[in-house]
Symmetry: C2
């Protein structure tokens, strides 16, 4: 009975993205986000504290390793067959096992999706992206890593929930809801 309830609860998946004006999230897959504002960082940390776990890709994990070890972190990777645990970190291959079931069995209610672009795309395609917090920093990069790395043009509909200016130089935070999300939040 208890197990059944756990399996059927709906997880809220919230993606966080910091981007340039032109939709780039990094210079390359191995570079960090040293160009984001402290106001975004403060929002991000505060909001993350309400989440039960985070999902990241292997590159993002490598960049943020030191900070992620304190969180329940699922690192998506093709390098393992079965989940490999190390402290609070789990290396997980979503091609081999059902990620949603895994998260439900852990009884997580709110899961943060932190990128990079392949992970954002994976979660969007697999209905694991209910909300999107997007911070636009006031730069144009003209080159770099795109926010989502899809291999097919598709029109995913979202609705804008709120707009907030985070500082004077013009960082803004947009909150979107996935129009196809079945989560009530």
């Amino acid at each position: 009975m208890n197990r059944k309830r756990k399996l059927s609860h709906k997880i809220l998946y919230v993606a966080y993205v910091a981007t340039s004006i032109d939709g780039k999230i990094a210079k390359s897959g191995h570079s960090g986000t040293d160009w984001t504002s402290k106001e975004d960082w403060n929002f991000f940390q505060k909001s993350l504290s309400q989440m039960d776990a985070v999902i990241v890709g292997h590159n993002t994990y490598n960049i943020a390793k030191d900070r992620l070890k304190w969180r329940n972190t699922i690192v998506l990777t093709s390098k393992v067959d079965t989940p490999k645990q190390s402290g609070k970190i789990v290396f997980f291959n979503p091609e081999k096992l059902n990620l949603k079931k895994f998260l439900q069995n852990k009884n997580y209610k709110k899961v943060a999706v932190l990128g990079g672009s392949r992970v954002y795309d994976f979660c969007l395609c697999n209905k694991m992206l209910d909300k999107l917090y997007m911070t636009i920093e006031p730069y144009v990069f003209t080159s770099g890593v795109s926010m989502f790395l899809g291999n097919k043009f598709k029109k995913y509909k979202f609705s804008l929930q709120s707009v907030k200016k985070l500082n004077k130089k013009g960082t803004i935070l947009l909150q979107y809801k996935n129009a196809n999300s079945s989560h009530k939040n």
Copy 2:
């Protein structure tokens, strides 16, 4: 004297971009923007009416040909050596002649930059992008043409001038100023 004055006046270059949440402006170089809202279209047409001329790339010209014939249009192309005029349209190769001088000699004061991504990048690199109006439609495409097509990651600083919600479904219009622009507007 008169000629000297004309050559030295500052042109205001204003770029207009309609984008998805994830920074994509089209499915491919040959596809239009049928996914933009009528509210954005209305803003765009009204704002364009105050401009003296528009700059577009060859793909954008081909898509919007019927509407552009009524405007002073400069089509950037490598296919001509000297400017080729056809009605109000001029095909111009910026590798062969100085585009800024050409526009100044025409005595244009306000020039709109309408894309695509190579033209946005060209204008940004060549200090021909003072203001940026960016409309974000509430979609994620995951794939497609990026807003700017630069070949080198660079941090161009902008400042946010205004944010406006254009409709209920969540289209927003951001107005940025290039932080390195020397134009007073």
